[in-house]
Amino acid sequence: MSRSIGAPVATASTPEPGTASLMRAASEERAASGQGAVSGEPLADAEADGSHRMVAADDGERDDGGAIASCDERAPDHRWELLRALGSLSILPPAEHGPIAEALGLAAWSPAEHTRLFVLELPPYASIHLGPEGKLGGEGADRVAGVWRALGLDPPTGADHLASLLALYAHLGEASQSAATDTARRRLAHAARALLWEHLWSWAPGYLAAAATYPAAAPWAALTASALADEALGTAPPEDLPAALRQAPGAIGPEVTVDDLLDALVAPLRAGFVLTHSDLVRAGREIGVGVRRGERRFALRAMLEQDPSSSVAWLARHARRWAGLHRSHGAPAPTISDWWVRRATGTARTLDTLSRH
């Protein structure tokens, strides 16, 4: 069976000839696609030097022998495996990730806790956090799939899952370190950098901050945030905002309709915050309204109908808390965190206005 990149994406994608000719495909697709930041320059000249193995690991023979020493200041290390392992915990159920958690020194999740977090309340998909509707798939997923294609890879199911993104990032990092030529190394590193800023750092810190509020997930979330921050701090910051943030719809204004407000509040890209079902339960407790069972939009509507003023005021406070959270992980890329701070603050201001009406 062919082996492919990293953890769960491996069995999902089982890429075959697509990856065998990765470099050629990459250079052609790149020209055509213009997808994301990876389209900036050719990926590699591997076709010329025949080193398809750099990215195409599907043959299961990643031959490190003969690779030139990496120009990376950090010696080849095990950080790729760390990122891959951390990502895999977000997708593999506890029955299958026991040895990985143990190697990471993390507590075992109960299946119920794991499902609650990663399936029900906080599915770790970029499309949910970077898509204008806050839902799986759509534009957010297409953007990530485009990256895979630009690299000449077949996007696996759930390419925008945190585990897949970390696995791809780790793979690009490894491939860069073992590249046979400077050009290939530079281009692979460029791809990794683009992936980091465009598709990981653009949303994952917020996601991990939300996950950290779940006791069972807190150690994993903190560790993953540390590892990701370590990558971000070691990488030159982006010149521009990620495309998803650049092209995001505008912040909500006081003229917003109820329906649109509900849509926006459950879409992180529009609201600037993550609003989980647990948050709503907490809100209900704090302001003394009932939380009706159902999806978040339904529950929110019920809260607003019961006590609009208190509910909107609570949401405004939630937005401000999130502005602070975004500010707290601003060091690696202030342009990104500033965007999120502005978005959350803007939402808070609008909600303040609405609460007065």
Partner: protein, 988 residues
């Protein structure tokens, strides 16, 4: 489980942690286990890790909320429904040793763990309450429907005795094994060779031979292997292949290509599933497809997009100029000019006039194709190529496009299948038979791609021969072939067919007329190997009785597959070995030697030794791969079910011929290179063309390209044959180039009140009668209404879907329900070929299951009349689901009403029918069929007049060009036409 930690370190040492994870992964993988398990609960397409295949645990969903565990052994095998040979994993319950379900085998390189509906439905076939479990012997008259149980010994002895007598008495040509879709690579052919019998008959001339012919005349290999996954443009004539044969392996790769921006172009008169996914759907007048192809070719040529350097090197353009344009200077410039002139008439307007497709649309499609460069993957299989007089030119003109673009064996291009197929050399390779079967390979069809199987009843009625013993093997000729009642007439005539043996897992319309019905296993109950072209790589797959493999995993020894199969169901491998021993018990006939053990001479060959030897000696890389896991090659295949031998074959024709193969060489006038060196042994015995040696007996070894001898193609010229000297010299010079032949259903050949009936198209959920008795598939697809356009329905006064139509052919009519839809071209009707199953009234030992209507079949002066007595209904059986059958309509058996239409060149039956469609008449009921088999004889005779028999047209007094492919090719001394042949002097 991990130990519980309440917190992590506030400032974790990420480097140390990463190192620890790396070490844990390395240690896990060193044990042969998977560190990152497939996320089978989260992501579709993930699979049980193979290290858990001995004990895979699943919870019983019906027991919820209780946690009831099922422990299963996962044992691979191969689907036996369509030809794709997709990998299956049988989930064998460890406690009961019953197969619980079938899912995809992720280790299979072709199907990659995916299946269509037909794969998992194998479980229905295995557990079918109506399957045949024991050998049966006819009790009453043939076709009377009375049977008694017999032992295998009794059956084997009786059949072996007949066969032995026929062989000893020199009546080898009275023995025939008629195979449906083979699903195996050559085992049965070698059995026949061991008997010295040229008795292989296939269904191919009612299936794919038209498609094959066009490809073979180009490249010497008779089917393409499109690299869809990497194509820029995918060009499909009809959806047949992508809906039927290779639905799963091809569809998944076409889907990948589309995701990468490829354009899909589908030519199909009917809005097929594939057409609905196409970027361009063209609905042409049936039979006009080649005209469209040629208009595209002309566009490529005239707009300068032809790959001239490829054409210069690899087309036999010099031979063309010498043969057809001797007045021109023999230069490439002359050829380029001539090529442009040749196809000048195929303008977009011409193609539009022929096809009814708008010229602007054809032009747009042509531009897309012309822009594909070497990433053009094209395919044409059944449908147009299988349905029209001259349909073989459809596939020939599809490959023409690839050849013009240089998209031959390129990434994303179109490969010859032999590059992507591996047939391992078996333990014994018997010699070619020394007899020629004229009932299958008559002189009238010297270029036929495959056996003229569908003409067999007519040849028997002509008195050209008789059959002493006729086997059908998982095949149903009465139902599958055109003119099925003529089949029934000869099968019930003991003068014409002395003994009919049906090897079949289930009842079918032919087995009713057998003398012996012998139960053979389904996908999980038999051994076979197979390899099909599905991407640019070679793999070999292994079908096996999964319960045998499961028991062997537990340490038990199984020496006969009947020990694990239900009832006394057997498999063909062991059956034929045993039968061959009984034909030749003392070895004096020279047959037994090919069924003996090598390890223990004088003892019977076992399937373990047969496949063990093959995998050990003939599959490069497999023994080493197996050894790395501590397994023998056979154990590896029993465990994983498939092995990929190579990937990325590329342009094998371009490879230089090694110097040690170039001894005492000679070069023909157009660069064909011959060598005195013997052909090196190859472990891969994949069939392909066999170019004839030169006058000195040197073999064709390569072709000169510039100064280099390259491997070339297995054609007479060694190049791609734009010009076929074979067609030219065997009486068909007018078709020596890729061209357009007006179909027998061209408007000019039909009466004004006739319509074209598309009678052969697939649904992805059934496969003829092979998928019979699969309740899931039957529930999905059980009827075949006649597609009719609203404008035609209005014209004919057909008010609504479900109204009855009478469809009248040349020899009879059938009554079916109308389905009024805009998914069919006006003037054309269509009816899928899967349905219309029947059983005869009074055949009480046969259950009608969920797919067979009970019918009466009577004969009068007007011919045969079939009438539905009872539709399907719920019934009691060991399976409670048979009480839940909610449908009653199982369609109509339209094939009975089709006369034979043999294409005089390819030999393909041309399926399309010119029909008259009317509203049903008083007294008509759904499913009625009427056929005049005397009239069928007249139509047969008329089509035979179009042939150009070898006796008159052969350039060298042989029956057939020796280089052409032929299943079970007889020895060279059989090729000269015998002076006694009655066809020898047929007039021009």
């Amino acid at each position: 489980m991990a130990k519980r930690h309440d917190t992590v370190e506030p400032t974790p040492d990420l480097g140390a942690l990463g190192k620890r994870v790396s070490a844990a992964r390395a240690a896990t993988e060193a044990r042969g286990e998977t560190f990152y398990q497939g996320a089978s609960k989260t992501i579709l397409g993930a699979f049980p890790p193979k290290e858990r295949w001995d004990d895979w645990v699943e919870l019983d969903s019906r027991a919820w909320p209780e946690r009831v565990e099922h422990h299963a052994m996962l044992v691979p095998t191969t689907c036996f429904n369509c030809e794709s040979a997709c990998g299956l994993l049988a989930y064998v319950d460890r406690d009961t040793l019953q197969v619980r379900k079938f899912e995809g085998n992720p280790e299979h390189p072709g199907s990659r763990g995916r299946n269509c509906a037909k794969g998992p439905s194998t479980i229905n076939q295995v557990t079918d309450p109506d399957r045949i479990l024991y050998p049966l012997k006819r009790a009453g008259a043939r076709g009377e429907g009375r049977w008694e149980r017999a032992s295998w010994d009794e059956a084997l002895d009786a059949i072996a005795d007949r066969l032995r007598r026929a062989i000893v008495e020199g009546r080898q040509n009275e023995i025939m094994i008629h195979i449906g879709r083979p699903g195996e690579d050559g085992f049965t052919e070698r059995v026949l060779a061991s008997w010295g019998v040229d008795g292989h008959n296939s269904h191919t001339n009612v299936c794919s031979s038209g498609g094959r012919t066009g490809f073979q005349f180009w490249s010497g290999m008779d089917r393409p292997s499109p690299d869809h996954a990497h194509a820029k443009v995918i060009y499909l004539i009809s959806s047949h292949l992508e809906t039927g044969h290779y639905f799963n392996p091809h569809a998944q790769r076409i889907t990948e290509a589309r995701a990468n921006g490829a354009k899909v172009i589908v030519l199909d008169t009917r809005l097929s599933n594939t057409a609905t996914h196409a970027d361009f759907w063209l609905s042409p007048q049936p039979g006009s497809e080649a005209a469209i192809n040629l208009a595209i070719a002309r566009h490529i040529i005239t707009t300068g997009r032809a790959n001239w350097s490829f054409i210069y090197d690899w087309w036999n353009w010099e031979e063309y100029l010498a043969a057809c344009r001797p007045e021109l200077p023999p230069t490439f410039d002359s050829f380029r000019q001539a090529l442009g002139e040749l196809y000048d008439e195929y303008s977009f307007d011409f193609a539009a006039a022929e096809s009814g497709v708008d010229a602007a649309t054809i032009a747009e499609v042509a531009e897309v194709v012309a822009g594909a460069g070497t990433r053009f993957s094209g395919h044409s299989w059944r449908s147009a190529a299988a349905s029209n007089l001259g349909g073989w030119q459809v596939s020939r003109t599809v490959f023409f496009l690839a050849a013009l673009l240089g998209a031959v064996a390129t990434e994303g291009g179109t490969f010859p299948n032999a590059y992507n197929k591996f047939v391992p050399r078996p333990i014994h390779l018997p010699p070619h038979p020394k007899v020629w079967q004229e009932l299958s390979w008559p002189l009238e069809f010297p270029l036929a791609q495959n056996e003229m199987s569908f003409l067999l009843p007519h040849f028997l009625k002509d008195g050209r021969g008789r059959l002493d013993t006729y086997f059908t093997r998982v095949y149903n000729p009465v139902w599958t072939n055109p003119d099925g009642l003529s089949w029934m007439e000869v099968l019930t005539d003991t003068d014409k067919v002395g003994c009919y043996v049906a090897l079949t897992p289930t009842w079918n319309e032919s087995a009713y007329f057998a003398d012996w019905v012998l139960p053979m296993g389904h996908a999980s109950e038999r051994h076979d190997t197979h390899s099909y072209e599905q991407y640019d790589g070679q793999w070999v797959g292994f079908r096996q009785p999964v319960l045998r493999a499961a028991r062997e995993r537990r340490g038990e020894q199984v020496t006969d597959t009947r020990q694990v199969n239900p009832g006394e169901v057997w498999e063909e491998n062991e059956f034929y070995i045993e039968l061959s021993w009984r034909i030749d018990p003392d070895g004096s006939l020279g047959i037994r030697q090919y069924h003996e053990s090598r390890a223990h001479p004088g003892q019977k060959l076992s399937v373990d030794e047969y496949y063990g030897w093959m995998f050990e000696h003939s599959v490069p890389g497999l023994p080493e791969k197996a050894a790395a896991e501590g397994l023998t090659a056979l154990e590896y295949m029993r465990r994983y079910g498939a092995f990929e031998i190579t990937r990325g074959q590329g342009q094998l024709f371009h490879q230089p011929v090694p110097a040690d193969e170039l001894v005492d060489t000679a070069v023909g006038p157009f660069g064909r290179v011959y060598s005195a060196t013997p052909k090196p042994d190859s472990p891969n015995v994949v069939p392909m063309g066999a170019p004839t040696p030169d006058d000195q007996g040197r073999r064709a070894v390569g072709v000169l390209v510039g100064d280099e001898v390259r491997r070339g193609f297995p054609t007479p010229s060694g190049r791609l044959e734009f010009y076929s000297s074979t067609l030219a010299s065997w009486g068909w010079p007018e078709h020596a180039l890729p061209g357009y032949i007006r179909s027998h259903v061209h408007p000019a050949n039909m009466a004004p009140d006739q319509m074209v009936l598309l009678s052969t198209f697939r649904l992805p959920t059934q496969i003829h009668t092979r998928s019979a008795n699969s309740k899931w598939l039957d529930e999905l697809s059980h009827t075949n209404p006649v597609w009719i356009h609203p404008s035609d329905a209005e014209r004919l006064g057909v008010a609504r879907t479900g109204d009855l139509l009478r469809v009248t052919t040349d020899i009879g009519y059938f009554v079916a329900k109308a389905w009024i839809t805009e998914g069919i071209r006006p003037g054309v009707v269509a009816c899928s070929h899967h349905m219309g199953r029947w059983k005869l009234v009074g055949h009480d030992q046969v259950s009608s299951g969920g797919m067979m209507a009970t019918v009466t079949l009577g004969h009068s002066d007007e011919g045969w009349a079939m009438h539905t007595l009872e539709q399907v209904r719920p019934y009691q059986s060991t399976d409670p689901d048979t009480q839940r059958i909610w449908w009653s309509d199982t369609g109509v058996h339209q094939n009975l009403t089709f006369p034979v239409h043999p294409d005089p060149i390819s030999g393909m039956h041309c399926w399309h029918q010119a029909v008259r469609v009317t509203r049903a008449q008083p007294g008509d009921t759904h499913g009625d069929v009427a056929v005049d088999t005397e009239r069928a004889r007249e139509v047969y005779a008329k089509w035979m007049e179009a042939t150009r028999p070898a006796g008159t047209y052969s350039p060298d007094a042989t029956r057939r060009p020796t280089w052409l492919m032929r299943p079970l090719k007889p020895s060279p001394e059989t090729f000269p036409i015998p002076t006694s042949s009655p066809i020898r002097t047929a007039s021009r």
